[in-house]
Amino acid sequence: MLEVIDLECIRGDRRLFSGLGFTLGPGELLHLQGHNGSGKTTLMRMLCGLIAPAAGEVRWQGENIRHARETFHRDLLYAGHKSAIKGDLTGVENLRIACRLAGITVDERHAWDALERMGLRGHEDLPARVLSQGQKKRVTLARLLLSRAPLWVLDEPFTALDRAAVAFLEDVIRRHLADGGLVVLTTHQAVSLTDEAHVKTLKLGWKREGDV
């Protein structure tokens, strides 16, 4: 269970949010909403422990993530704006190294498998720099297929993906939730993820409907 208690974020001399709190249990998805610059990415990075909150705390399984760093990171998968892909390495190499850093050992066959399921058949052993934006995104997201982490924090996972890949990713997320996983994500696209009962939404920012 992920608990967020009274979180406050101050960047420079601006307060992005304060008094923010929610809990997320197994099988639940939190959809972060808000206009550009409202602090969605900052909040996600804070949930992961990359940014220290100005006040409040984030708890995972009842423990502050600052104190239980190793267990928390073993249970966490974060896919941010940056792809974490090396242009000089092939898709398979990138995927295996990323998984190994996250604490899972993946053999070559499983990595090929995951990339093929992610729709990269025939591109597995090309250097990542020749792949298109969407294909790179697919390499990054192939980690989701191999991960055993219960908590997924996904920052704009659907951007640059084509329609088929979006549908596939929705399916992967749905299955993860059905298995008792937790997902926090942001997206500006209309996606159909799961039945409404398990989706929570959180609106950040001060703008109203219709503002630009």
């Binding site: 190793e70 090396k86 000089d88 990323a98 850093l101």
Partner: protein, 222 residues
């Protein structure tokens, strides 16, 4: 715990193999700087023998400096650094892996090439041996200390100049004992004392620098 470290080392070596120009620039820089002095000063062997230790060590310092900027920059830009900070392993272990790989790529070739370059300065065999030994002990310490500066200046504009200002003063002890060892040997005194000091600096850097670098990386990644 050390498996993630070896994976990082192997990845960085693989990347260096696929992009050899980065490795070669540092090495050529060292070779050229060291070779310019005999050309500039002329073939007076006594003078050359006298300045050799200082020239080699200053060139090694600058070459190490030159390579530092790239130590974390690539990982920072493509987001791998975030994933490193989110790894279940302690960050300083991963940092140690990065620095070790960096030394293998930019430091070790320079150490191995130095006896050959030493011939330009008419250094006797025994002195060459001490020079290789001192560089072998000193250059890893340079990489370790430099990593702190590289981590602190990540993502800053003009980071390259700032690294030199931050790190070069910290390099001074290594320079003194490194060049001192070679000089001591050349003048007939034993080099052992200097080498022990270099070893002590290396051990201290090995323990303290990865922790400091890890803390600096956390700040830079925020």
């Amino acid at each position: 715990m050390f498996e993630a470290m070896t994976v990082l080392i192997r990845r960085d070596l693989l990347l260096a193999l696929r992009r050899r120009s980065d490795v070669l620039t540092t090495l050529f820089f060292f070779v050229i700087v060291v070779s310019l002095f005999p050309l500039g000063i002329g073939p007076e062997l006594d003078t050359l023998r006298l300045i050799a230790p200082g020239v080699f060590w200053v060139a090694a310092l600058l070459a190490s400096m030159l390579a530092l900027e790239k130590l974390f920059a690539g990982d920072f830009e493509d987001g791998t650094l975030e994933q490193m900070l989110l790894a279940p392993e302690p960050v300083f272990v991963l940092v140690l892996g990065k620095v070790l790989a960096h030394w293998l790529i930019t430091g070790l070739p320079l150490v191995l090439l130095s006896p050959l370059l030493g011939l330009q300065y008419d250094l006797p065999g025994e002195t060459l041996r001490v020079m290789v030994l001192s560089l072998l002990l000193g250059t890893p310490a340079l990489s370790l200390i430099g990593a702190i500066g590289a981590a602190l200046t990540l993502g800053l504009r003009g980071g390259g100049v700032l690294i030199s200002l931050l790190v070069l003063p910290l390099y001074i002890p290594v320079l003194i004992f490194g060049a001192g060892a070679v000089e001591a040997n050349a003048s007939g005194l034993g080099a052992a004392g200097h080498l022990y000091m270099l070893g002590a600096i290396l051990l201290l850097a090995l323990v303290a620098a990865p922790l400091a670098t890890a803390a600096a990386l956390r700040i830079s990644a925020e």
